[in-house]
Symmetry: C2
Subunit: 642 residues, 2 copies
């Protein structure tokens, strides 16, 4: 008996697969044995809170692949394994109907023995019903009648439930599924620097506007006291002027460290108030966790054993020779005192959890030990399975993936640098399908305070519209560095730089309301996302053929909700194309006209077949988001087409 | 430190990867860690006969993939694992050259400490040389001079060899590579029924002809006594006439069983003589192992506990309801007496090994327990690593693959039923690339005594030529059921049947020399295979685009030996096509004309670029086998292009 190729299984089960509460998990395995006997297989599954496993029968698909569906409702870990056996009764039953009459006598004898044995394993009513079949077979009826009697579905069902599993094979490991809350899979993030709006109390005034635009996570860069030694000036110059406020990521001063609030922003109480006010607006506050210290951080004086020393006794600052970042001391995670350090850093998270934070954006996790993240996220989620961790790693792909395997709930992506049709198709095909999608949940950002791409710098308003729509429709999790994005800030620090000129990272900005900004479009796009379940997941993303390399067309479907997006990725020129929609994959009857509804403009069209012409002037409307009206047979049927 | 994605690794290392003696194995792994430090990695490897592992340094390719090359020379198992570490010295060394002069003093101090530590780990001359570098750094030279001195390649090499591996990460498992003799990867099989030629002594007379055609394995169906009870007649009819000889697969009678020779074929001594005579002709004898008994087999009376009983006490015959095969009793591998049975069956192999057999064709292994094969092949190869086992399973793909993983050296394939360009391209792309090619070695047969395909029945001589050339050039292992193939026997038993009419399985045939048979072509094709290393492996198989769905074009390359085959798979009509040879993949300079040499006809052509026209009349020549003249930079460079 061979059971292999289990899915979902990340790296053969070394890491949990990720799902959210309410998901139906398709558990599959290759199940086969020598010979031609009928097999039976079950998935044994339990939530971490249960000590005994429940069973669900698997059914064969094609090519020795078997499947069962599990619905996961509770947060935390589910565990499953697979058991299978050669089912002698089902084999006998299948063959009996094909046999010659001369074989009936001996064959009914074989069957009778199996039913008798099952009867002794059964209890209660089942036992009585099985005993009834024993009586029938022991009786004086004609052999043909008995063969007819054992055709019974009831008997098949009973015999399956009391199948002889003495020689069953069970996998010797359990596979894990980690279930997060739904926001892990569907969220819209808005980032702002609180100090540009005054204090945390002043930020409260921004909440209704952000909520009205349709966001559900408000992410704040570090809100802690900022170091003074080697403080960077505006535009990241080496020496700060007396009025320069410093970078929020140079954490720690005589005013406190990772569990303190910058005095100019307010108090812990103000912070808790902000969390409550956000809740009232349907928003959650996410904060930044950046594990590094300024030279002025209390850790430096109290725990210099947590930092690496150079031979001259000074603490090693961050560097990428010849560049020096003397305003930043990295922690020395492998120091002799690593246990104390690791515990302290876990306690930083716990401190903010106690204040009511449930979402953390983690700064540069790839420069800290991978094992630290695996440990600390495991520790934290054990008691708080509703926590969400976003990994801010823009490093080599395997490390980004490993961080996700180690426990990060969501991950930043290369989206910002994927601009062409080819790049977007290849990248999103990779990250939205297994094996990657089983552990890596992308969160697509068109901009961040660190990233103002060339595309946005030189593409004008159309570039911002295109990148917003791509992020929000390709990826169920997305976010923007909001004030700058809404106002289409596009000036780089110098040619070739992806830094903003006069970056908000090093100074306080003013963000007065702007005429003709993108807020109305953003509101529309977020409304479309909320109203269409198809856009709340990535698994059903499919790219369709178009006749123009500047025009991207893709669909997402969930049940009978089908969205087709068509985007002109050229922000400068009008482009037109013939679309070749794969109507079979979309389960649309190609012999009948169907209605499409453009969701941003409200326009309605009737299309005939999969071949349709589109023309997109980026200065008018660079993209369409269509909903297709059609009924599917069932969500499950649908999936086979993708 | 993460080490994952090791290759070659079959099912994450659960099964050995297969190679042959003389192969260079590319061992690869993803190796990465947090941060930007320089890493070092080694492969630790040993043959099963060695207790300590040797090391080979790995080098990074791209995207965190690392590689080392291992040459495997001995038969049996090699084991390897991977160890990697953050290399602080190499990191320091890389950064030193980029630093500002103001950092030299403290940095040289850091380096000096590492060199001192390495000196204490080193011995002999290495220690002296390292001590020399310590002296230099301790001396009074200018800092710039010292920075220049440590650029030394000698120092880098020494420091690598005595690197601080205290915190190295080593995978906690060993991966296995099973090394067979070269014939496992490159062989040409010829099958004949000895009784049609008289006795085993008479078969000796056939050896020179078979050897002259270029075969190196002569495979004989079972040569044991044949049962009489329920013996099948000619064309597999249920009742045999008095002169019917029976099927060789109904093994066993009062004359003996699996370790006896059919008296009409001769004696054991004759068999050993045949083996020697074959050797003299450069041929090896392969015999069939079919684990089943006729009702007359001595096992049935002596060991009825090895068979399954029905409730009426009779032994269960083979069946596929409503079909009954009452001339065949399967063994009951799960009986109470399974240990004795398994040992007995192993001893059957050992008996023939003692007679000098080194190649076994195993009949229907998929109807016996998979674990039995894993056990018995392991037992046999432990003392006889030169054994070759060919799996005759034409069942579901996953079971065929599992048998290969369990230890079968070669496997029959679906080749016989893959006739179109699409089918051949898809199937051979699957079975000649990892993961499949790491454990599954295909052996392609255009026909067998059980398989006379429709293509051969109705395609005339061109069909035989096409299928021969495809088998012999797509697949480094191939074979034919010879007398019938040479003479292009093509009459099926009845319409829709793949059985031969008047099949040799049930009667003695005469095979007089035939005018105009295929033996001359077969000799040519086998000569081409022997003369061209490209055809002695499958790893470098590549399909090229052609403009006609009836014309298949593919190449194989080994070093500077490049073969391109062009085949018209339509046996009825002349077909023509434009070929689009991927000259980059073939490392042929597309700017210069190049010579191609047709190896069957000796014709020579000069081609210009990758686009070339071919026309193939199946009644004249349905296929070309070209050798391309070109020099490659090196075999290793070449592989990146595929």
């Amino acid at each position: 008996m061979v059971i292999e190729g289990v899915s979902p299984a990340v790296d053969e089960g070394r890491f949990p697969a990720k799902r959210v509460a309410g998901d139906t998990v398709l558990v599959e395995a290759d199940v086969f044995a020598d010979g031609h006997d009928v097999l039976s297989a079950v998935v044994l599954h339990r939530h971490q809170s249960e000590s005994t496993a429940a069973e669900r029968r698997m059914t064969p698909l094609v090519n020795d692949r078997w499947r069962a569906e599990l619905r996961v409702e509770q947060l935390g870990f589910y565990f499953f394994t697979v058991e299978a056996w050669v089912d002698h009764f089902l084999t006998w039953h299948r063959d009996l109907q094909k046999r010659e009459k001369s074989d009936y006598a001996v064959q009914l004898q074989i069957g009778l023995e199996m039913i008798r044995a099952a009867t002794s394993r059964a209890k209660g009513r089942d036992r009585k019903r099985l005993a009834h079949f024993v009586e029938v077979l022991e009786g004086d009826d004609e052999l043909e009648d008995k063969v007819h009697d054992v055709k019974s579905d009831e008997l098949l069902d009973l015999m399956w439930r009391y199948s002889d599993r003495t020689h069953a094979t069970r996998l010797d490991c359990e596979y894990a599924i980690e279930v997060d809350r739904p926001k892990a899979a569907f969220s819209a993030w808005y980032e702002l620097f609180p100090r540009s709006f005054g204090t945390l109390r002043d930020v409260e005034a921004q909440l209704p506007g952000i909520a009205n635009m349709g966001f559900d996570v408000l992410y704040l860069p570090p809100i802690h006291p900022i170091g003074k030694t080697f403080r960077k000036g505006r535009n990241n110059v080496m020496t700060a002027g007396p009025n320069d406020v410093g970078s929020p990521w140079a954490i720690g001063s005589d005013e406190g460290g990772h569990t303190s609030i910058h005095p100019k922003l307010g108090t812990l109480e103000d912070f808790r108030r902000l969390i409550e006010a956000a809740k009232g607006n349907g928003l959650e506050i996410a904060i930044d966790i950046a594990f590094q210290s300024s030279p002025d951080h209390p850790y430096v004086s109290k725990h210099d054993e947590w930092f690496l020393k150079r031979p001259d006794g000074t603490i090693q600052y961050a560097e990428n020779p010849p560049k020096k970042y003397q305003d930043i001391y990295p922690f020395h995670f492998e120091s002799e005192a690593w246990r104390d350090l690791w515990n302290e850093l876990r306690d930083v998270f716990l401190f903010w959890v106690k204040q009511g934070v449930r979402i953390f954006r983690v700064d540069n996790p790839h420069t800290k030990p991978l094992l630290f993240w695996q440990w600390v996220i495991g520790e934290l989620k054990r008691d708080h399975p509703d926590l969400i961790f976003l990994s801010e790693a823009f490093t080599r792909p395997k490390i980004m993936y490993w961080l996700a395997k180690a426990g990060f709930t969501q991950s930043y992506t290369y989206f910002a640098w994927r601009n062409t049709k080819y790049e977007l198709t290849a990248y999103f095909s990779e990250i939205t399908k297994p094996p990657v999608s089983d552990f890596f949940r992308p969160n697509a950002w068109p901009n961040t305070p660190d990233i103002l791409t060339e595309y946005l710098q030189y593409g004008g308003r159309p570039a911002f519209v295109v990148r917003l729509i791509l992020a929000a429709t390709l990826c169920s999790n997305y976010g923007i560095y909001g004030p700058a994005f809404e106002r289409m800030m596009h000036e780089g620090r110098e040619p070739g730089s992806e830094e903003y000129r006069d970056s908000e990272k090093y100074e306080v900005k003013q963000w007065p309301p702007a005429e003709d900004d993108l807020s109305a479009l953003i509101s529309s796009v977020n409304r479309v996302r909320r109203e269409n379940p198809a856009l709340q997941q990535n698994a059903m993303l499919k790219f369709h053929t178009t006749s123009n390399d500047e025009i991207l067309c893709y669909s997402k479907a969930a049940g009978d909700n089908v969205i087709v997006a068509v985007v002109n990725v050229d922000p400068h020129n009008t482009q037109s194309a013939w679309l070749d929609l794969d109507l079979t994959a979309l389960q649309v009857d190609s012999n009948r006209p169907f209605q499409v509804h453009e969701l941003l403009t409200g326009a309605r069209y009737t299309w005939h077949g999969g071949r349709n012409y589109v023309q997109l002037n980026p200065h008018v409307v660079p993209a369409h988001i269509f909903r297709i009206r059609r009924k599917v047979r069932s969500e499950r049927d649908f999936e086979y087409f993708l």
